[in-house]
Amino acid sequence: MSWLLILLPLLGSFVIIVSPGRLAKQLALVTSLVVLGVSVAAAFVFDGWGRGTWELTSSVEWVKEWGLVLQVGADSVSLILVLLTTFLMPLAILGSFNAIKSRTKEYYGWLLGLQAAMTGVFLAQDLVLFYVCFEFTLVPMFFIIAIWGSKNRAHASVKFLIYTFTGSLITLAGFLTLAWSYAQANGGDWSFEISALTNHAVSALSLHEQAWLLLALLIGFGVKVPLFPVHTWLPLAHTEAPTAGSVVLAGVLLKLGTYGLYRFVLPMCPEAVVEWAPFVAILSIIGILYAALICWVQTDVKKLIAYSSVSHLGFCVLGLFALNPMGVEGSILYMINHGLSTGALFFLIGMMYERYHTRDMGELGGLARTMPIWATFMVFFVLASVGLPGLNGFVSEFLCLIATFTAGGSGAYPGVLGPWYAAIAALGMVLAAMYLLIMVGKVVFGPTKATLRHDEQSGLPVDLTVREITVLVPLAVGCIVLGIQPDLIIDNTATAVADTLAVYQDIFEESMPGAAAFVDTSLPGGAR
C-alpha cells in the first residue's frame, strides 16, 4: 500500500505525458483523487493509530552488499502528513484548471511527480529512499516555478533549486558520515535503515560527533523549513510560483523540513539537541518577529503571506525544540494547520490575481463589495492564520507556546527553554494580527477602487465559481474540524511522539536529578 501511494501518482504522471493534452487536467484530477482514496483506505487499514508502531511496511532489496534496501512504511505522524499531501493535491490540481493554459501536460505531470516524491519522503524508512525523494521534490518544483511562474521566475527557480540543494548536500554529508560510522562499528556492514542508524547515533556517537551531525542536518532541514537566516529563497519562490506551486510549497514542501527535524534531528542527536536547543529556539524566535515585522511593510499580498510562513514555521520549530510532548504535538498540528490555512490563502490570492492581474495592496481595495464569497473565505482563513480560538491555528500555536514556556530547565517539566522564550515568541501573535488585519483592511474592506478592473478575458465571473468554492470548502472544513477536535491528531500520534521523546526523558533525568520527567508539577525555573 505504501508503494502504491508513491507509485500511483508517478504512473499517473506518465499516463498524462503520453495521452493527449486536452485530457491532462481531468486525468490529473482523477489520479489525485484515486490516490486520496488509497490514502484514506490506508488510514483505515493502518494499525498504528495511537500506538507508535510502523505499519504498512515493505522493502525491496537493491544492492544488498552496500546495505541499499529500499524500505517504506508509516507511523502515525508520517501517515498524517501523507494524508495532508494527498488531501492538498486534488485541490491544487482543481485550483489550477483555469490558471494554467499552456503546456498543461507537463504541468500536471510534474505536479503528480512532485506528489510521488513528497509521499516518498514521508513514507521512507531508509535514508537512501528518503534522500532521493527529498531531493527529487526540487526537480518538479523547479520546473513548475521556471515555466509557469510569473515575471521573475527564472531567477526564483534557480535560486530555489541551488539554495535548497546546497543545504541538503550538507545533510547528505551528515547522513553518509553517520552511515560510515555505523559500518565501522558493525564490521563493514552498511545499512541505511533509519531505525538502525538512529540507534547507532544515540548509543555510539559522542556529544561532539552528535553536534556535528546536528549541524549538518540542521543546515539542510533549516533551509527547507525555512529558519532565519536561511529563509530568503522562500519569499522569492512563493511570489513567483504559480498558485498551485505556492500551495504545495507552503502546504507540504516546507513540512519536509520540520518533518526532517522531527524524524532525524530529535531522535538521532539528543544530547546535542539538549545542548543546542536554545540556539535553535533563538533563531526561530528571531524568525518569528523579524518576518512578522517584514510582513507589515509588504505591499505585495503574496509576498506578505510568504513571509508570514517564515514567521509561522518559527512557532513550529520552537515547539519541536521544547522537547516535551505538548510542544511536539503542537508542532505536528502546526504542520497540518499551516498547510491548510496558508495553502488556502495562496489559493485565494491566486483567484484574485486571475481576475485583476495585480497583487499590489495599493491597487486593491473593497473587494468585499464585489466579491463577497471570496471575501468571506479570505477573512475566515486569515483568522485561522491569526490563531483565532476555535479554528485550527490556535490549538497548535497555543501548544507550541505553552510547551516552550514550561520547558523551564528544571523541576518537573524539563527542557532547556523557558518562560522568556515563550513570552517573546508570543509577541508574534500580536504582530500576526497586525499585519494580516492590515492586509485584510486594505484588500477586502474599504472603498472599492475605481481603477480596479475585472479582467473579462480571464473567463471567470466576478465572484468565485463553483469550482473555486469546491477548492476552498474542504480546507475551511478542515480548519474548523481541527480547531474543535484537535484530538483527532493528538490522540493518534501521542504514543509515537512519546517514543521519540523517551530518550530525552532519560537525558533530563540524568542531568537534573530529582526531577521526574513529565510527571509532576513545579515552577518553571523555580529551582534555579
Binding site: 537566516p229 530568503t232 529563497w233 523579524y290 515585522l293 517584514i294 507589515w296 511593510v297 516535551n324 510532548p325 505538548m326 473593497g366 468585499a368 463589495r369 483565532l388 480560538p389 490556535f394 490549538v395 497555543f398 501548544l399 507556546l401 505553552i402 514556556f405 514550561t406 523541576g411 518537573a412 517539566y413 518562560p419 515563550a422 513570552a423 508570543a426 509577541l427 501573535m429 500580536v430 494580527a433 497586525m434 488585519l437 492590515i438 483592511g441 477586502v444 474592506f445 474599504g446 472603498p447 472599492t448 474543535i484 477536535q485 484530538d487 490522540d491 501521542a494 526523558q505 513529565f518 510527571v519 509532576d520 508539577t521 513545579s522 515552577l523 518553571p524 525555573g525 523555580g526 529551582a527
Partner: protein
Amino acid sequence: MIDVTLQLARIVQAMPPVPASEVLHVSGQWWIGFILWCPLISLVLCGLCAACRVKSKLPAWITVFSLAISFVLTLLLAFMDTPPERVELFKWINVHWDGGSFVANFAFYIDSLTILWMSFVTGLGALIALYASEYMEPDVGRGYARFFAGISAFLFAMICLVMGDNLLMLYLGWEGVGFASYWLIGYYYQKPEAVAAAKKAFIVNRIGDLGLALAIYLIWSTFGTIQYNELITVLDAGTYLPVYENWSVQAIPYLLMLAAFGKSAQLPLYVWLPDAMEGPTPVSALIHAATMVTAGVYLIARMYPFFLLAPESLHVVAWVGGLTALLAATIGMAQYDIKRIFAYSTISQLGYMFLGLGVLTTYGAAYHVFTHAFFKAVLFLTCGAIMHGFAGQLDLRKISGLRRMKGWRIVSWTMFIGCLCLAGFPLTSGYFSKDAILAEAFVSQGPGFEVLGWMAIFTAFLTAYYTFRVWCRVCAGEVRCEPGDEHHGDDHDAGTHGGEFHPHAPRFAINIVLLLIAAGALLAAVPYFMGNEVEHVAGGWVADMVHDSTAAEGVPGHPEHPASALHGAEAHHGSILGMDPHVAMYWISACVGGLGLLLAFWLHLWRRQDADRLRSWLLSRFWTRWLPVAMENKWYVDEVYHAFIRAPLWLFGHIFYAIDRYIIDGLFVDGTARLPRLLARCFQPLQNGMLQSYAVTMAGGAVLIALLMLLMLQFFTGGAVS
C-alpha cells in the same frame, strides 16, 4: 524548592477525588448546553440567510428567538439555585503523556457569578437584537443577515467566556468576542474609519490577549491545571504554600490584569473603545457598553484568589481604575459627539469597576457591572434612535429640544432615566452600585486609597455634569435640529424628502426595547434591598451571588500572608470625615451628583451662552489654554502611541526588510553564489570559441601533464628513469 514543588504536586494530584464529590456535582441537565448552542445555531442559520441572500427580516427573528431561548434557559438555571457545577459538553484539547496531561474541554463551570453575568448578557442580548431588527431595517437584504450572524457569534463567544470551565475556554470566548467586535465594528466596511477602528480594536485587544495567554501558561506550569474547580480547590485548600511567594505566582495577576485592561478599555489600552463607536449603535450598546467590555471585570473576579496572593496587584488595579475613570471623564466632558461621550463614560464607569475590584469589593464591582449594563444600554440605544432618526446626526450642538418633538417622548425620557442612573442620582440603581465602590475605597487600606477615594468622588461629579450636559443639550431647550450629512448605513435614503428634513421617529420595536431596558435600569436598584442570606455582607442579592463564587474574598489561611492581613482590614472599618464610610457616602455622592447635575443645567440649559463664555475664557488665558485643548484632543494619547509604538515598529519593519533584501539575501546568499562565478571569470579568456586555440590549450595541457609525470617519476625514483 524541590519539596515545595512536590508539596504542590501532591495537592494537585490528591485533589480530584475529595472535592469533586462535595463542591462539584456534574449536572445531568442536558438542556444547559443549549444556552450555548442556541446562538451557534442562530449564527449558522444567519450565515445561510446571507449565502442565500434572504431579503426579509428573517435573520433578526431567528436571532431574537434563539437568544430569548438562551435567556429563558439561563433564568431556569438561576432559579434551580444549584451549587457550583460542571457540565461537560465535549473534549477539546487533551494531551496526555506518561504521568501528566493537559486538559481543556468544552465544559461549563456554573456558579453564581456565572449566572449573574449570564442573566444580563443573554437578556440584554435578546432585547438589543430586537431593537436592531428595526434599527438595521435599511440594510435588509444586504448586510442584515451578516449583522445578525455577528450578533449571534458575539453571544456564542460571550457565553463561552462566561460559562467556560477552564481558562482556555475563557480564552476562546475572550478572542471570540474580540473577533465578533471586529466583525461588527467593521460592519460598514466601505467606510475607511470603520475598518481602521475594527482593526485597532482587534489589535489592541490582542495585546491584552497576550497577557491572558502568558497567564494561562504560567498558571498551568505552576499548578498543572487550568480548570477553575481544580485551581480553586488548590487555592482554597487552607494551607498557605511558600511557593506562593515565588515570582511565577506573583506575576499571574499582573498578566491577567493586562488582559482585563485590554478588553475593558482601561489605561493604557483604552484607545480602541471610542473608535469602536464606528459600528452600528446596537453593537455599541451590546458589546461596547453592556457586556463585552465587562469581561475584564469578570476575569479578575473569577481569578480573584490569584490577586489575593499578590495584594500589590490589587493596588495597581485600584489605581489604574481610578485614574482611568478620571481621565475618561475629563475627555468625555469636552466631546461633542454624543456617542463618543457615552463611550468615554463607559471607560470611566469601567474604571470604577476596577477601582472596586482593587479595593476589595468584588461585590461592588459586580453590582456596578450589573446596573451599568442596563443604564448604559439605554443611553446607547437612545443615541441610536437619534442617529437613526436624524440621518446620522450625533453632534450635541445641532440637535435640541428633542422631548418636545412628536414621537420622541419615549426616547427623551428613557434617556433621562439612563442619565439619572449614570449620574448616580439618589435612589437610582447607579447610586447604590457606585456608592458600594466609593465607600470601600475609604474602608480598605492601601497606598493612597484615601486620595483615590476623593478622586473617585470628584469623578462622580464630572460624570453627573457631562451626562446631563448631553441630556440638556439634546433633549431639552428650544426645538431645533440639523440632519447629519451621512445616512446611517452605507447609502440608504434617509428621511430627506423634497429638501426639507423630517426626522423619522422610532417605531414599535425600538420604543418597547427602550422602555423595557429603562425599566430594567430602574429595577436594578431592587437587588440591593433583597436577598442577603449571607450575614455580615451588606448589599443584597448581588452580594450573595458574588459571595458564593470564586470572587468571594477567600484567602489561603496563612497567618503571615499579607493578603490575610489585608483581608482582615475589612473588620477594621475606615472612616470618612469621622463617619462610617457607607453612611457618609450616601450623603456625599448625593451632594456631588446633585452639584454636577445643577452645573450641567446651568451651563447647558438655562444659560447656554455661559458655557461658550467659559470655554473662550479658558482658551484666552495662556495658563489655562492647554486644558480644553488637551481634553478635546483626548490628551493626545493616540498620537503618543503612534509616535512611540506604531511608528518605531513600522520603521523596524522597513529596516528589517532592507536587511533581508540587501544584507542577508544580497550579501550573504547572492554573495556566496557569486564567488564561484568570480573564479570562473579568471579562466574565461580560455573559452574563446576558436577551435584551434582549444586544441593548443589541450596540447599544452597534455605536455604539461607529461612533464609533470616525468618530474614526479624522477622525484619518486630518484632519477632512475633511463
